[in-house]
């Protein structure tokens, strides 16, 4: 079987991002593999280690040069090769990214039995790419997976839905969105990092020109009006807090 891991890059969440003239200033931003995509890469590599029938693990990413960082990281973790869909560092929505990846898979002639991606993309604050790719490729998917068992032509995946754990079986080919606790991503040692630089990395053009949605403005979120401090003893605070929640905020 062939496995594809989608490993996009996101700005390091610990870094500071600056708001430019209606765009997010990319300069000075440290990019890293999207943390949830790291689970996807790890799961892909573990499946190859556990099973004899895994021929290849391929990593794919969409974006500017920063995407290469994420792909090299995935390859250092153990992916065999990378595909970079180069589309510059302008903003693209999930549907655009999903379409580009689905089209690239279609055009490559490779057919993957299992596609793994992260549950959430931390740039776009979104969980939309995975289901969209699955639909474009006409395959089932499971979101927020915390336990995965891959069998013969099927995948058994457990995910959390409204507080309960649901186990779903899908027929492969299929797409799995990896959640935290699915696997523990390895930290590639330096020799693997060096080796990854020599692994094949193909750069291709995106199939679509632009997103269907347009960003017309970026802004800094307005803080909720100044915080109203509640004073007094613990008893008085409790009384006053319940009063404002009931009478002013009207949330109780």
């Amino acid at each position: 079987m062939k496995i594809l891991a989608i490993t996009n890059a996101v700005p390091d969440p610990r870094g500071t991002l600056k708001l430019g003239d209606n765009h997010i200033e990319p300069s000075g931003v440290k990019w890293a593999i999207n943390p949830y995509d790291e689970y996807a890469a790890e799961q892909a590599v573990q499946l190859r280690e556990q099973r004899e029938d895994v021929e290849e693990v391929v990593a794919i990413a969409v974006g500017g040069d920063e995407a290469v960082t994420a792909l090299r990281h995935a390859m250092a973790m153990g992916a065999d090769r990378g595909i970079h869909i180069a589309c510059g560092d302008v903003w693209h929505d999930d549907m655009f990214v999903a379409k580009c990846i689905a089209d690239a898979i279609g055009a490559s002639g490779d057919s993957y039995d299992l596609i793994l991606c992260g549950k959430t993309n931390l740039s776009r604050d979104s969980e939309s790419m995975g289901p969209a790719i699955a639909e474009f490729l006409g395959m089932p998917h499971v979101g927020s997976v915390i336990d995965l068992e891959v069998g013969d032509g099927i995948a058994k995946a457990t995910h959390r839905v409204a507080g309960s754990n649901e186990t779903v079986e899908i027929k492969l080919p299929g797409l799995i969105m990896c959640d935290k606790t699915l696997v523990d991503p390895r930290y590639p040692p330096l020799p693997k990092v060096m080796q990854a630089r020599k692994k094949p990395l193909e750069t291709i053009e995106p199939s679509t020109e632009r997103s269907k949605t347009t960003i017309v403005d970026f802004s800094v979120p307005t803080e909720k009006g100044a915080c109203t401090m509640i004073e007094g003893s613990a008893q008085e605070m409790a009384t006053e807090l319940l009063r404002v929640l009931r009478e002013e905020a009207k949330v109780l």
Partner: protein, 307 residues
């Protein structure tokens, strides 16, 4: 403004908020009920479609929504950004060749062009996104709009469920203590590292249950093993936007703030008046949580919430 289709799923409160949003946009409103409920015939819309999906699966739900889009001639589809809504909306957009505007925190019709705002980069920025000229699938975060209390008398039309043999639910393991999850909870009482132990979290559960909600935890509290990862609120846990979020002993690391700042009302209880959590809080209490939570609980017990 073209026709709008509202999707009603199992989280009905969140779904009823979509009718408020639909009204704001204007145009004729249709609805699709995923599941078997008696509510279809009284929804505030002109036609209510219904499909007998007992438990959500993506392929069957996307198929039913696509059919309802065709039948209603909708150009806008509104879905609450619940777990299910977020999961199915991209499939529908891909299936029907529509644009997707996900996780919106506001929506407006500006001269027949829909514009939405949504958080990006871990909530550090807000993007204003303009919809496409064609079909737009829009998910809106819960509690962005008030729950619609209007009723109507739509014609009800059954849509046939198209089960897909490629997906099947094998088992559903309900939580042993029947505690609801944080993802779609209406009220969340969250605890941080100062909680000190798993046992102490019982106080937060008591308070949360009185308020009709559940308990969340900061990453620090989860790392200490006080609560399971499933309860972690934040960028690498679950992003939540309840009606009321009470942060107990949580300083407010940027990842945590990004995961809860969309809450309608935030109460911060912290001994440190300079804690970043007060920057996003609506109400602040500089007090040890172990001093304040017991009287809060006691006073709520004395004058309980109207159900």
């Amino acid at each position: 403004m073209g026709n709008t289709l509202v999707i009603v799923e199992s989280n009905q409160d969140a779904s009823m908020q979509m009718f408020t949003a639909a009204k704001e946009l204007g145009g004729d409103v249709h609805a699709l009920v995923l599941g078997t409920c008696d509510c279809a015939s009284v929804l505030p819309c002109s036609t209510a479609y219904q499909v007998a999906i007992d438990r959500y699966t993506p392929l069957a739900a996307a198929d039913a929504i696509a059919k309802a889009i065709e039948l209603s001639g909708a150009t806008t589809v509104l879905i609450a950004a619940t777990q299910i809504g977020r999961d199915v909306a991209p499939r529908v957009a891909a299936k029907c060749g529509g644009a997707l505007l996900g996780d919106c925190t506001s929506i407006a019709n500006e001269n027949e062009t829909i514009k939405c705002t949504r958080p990006v980069y871990g909530g550090k920025f807000v993007a204003t996104v303009q919809a496409s000229d064609g079909l737009n699938i829009i998910t809106i975060r819960p509690n962005t709009f008030a729950t619609s209390t209007e009723t109507g008398s739509p014609s009800v039309q059954e849509i046939e469920k198209n089960s897909d043999s490629r997906e099947s639910i094998l088992a559903v393991e309900e939580p042993t203590n029947n505690e609801m999850g944080v993802a779609d909870a209406d009220v969340i009482v969250s605890g941080g590292r100062p909680m000190g132990s798993e046992e102490n979290f019982a106080q937060l559960y008591e308070l949360a249950h009185l308020l009709g909600g559940t308990v969340g935890a900061s990453r620090a509290a989860v790392d200490e093993g006080y609560q399971p990862v499933a309860r972690q609120v934040g960028l690498t846990g679950t992003v939540v936007a309840p009606r009321l979020y009470i942060a107990c002993g949580i300083d407010g690391a940027i990842q945590h703030l990004a995961g809860m700042r969309g809450s309608q009302v935030i109460v911060a209880i912290n001994t440190n008046p300079d804690a970043p959590i007060f920057k996003v809080a609506t109400y602040g209490c500089v007090m040890d949580l172990f001093e304040l939570v017991p009287p809060l609980t006691a006073q709520l017990q004395a004058s309980p919430q109207p159900a």
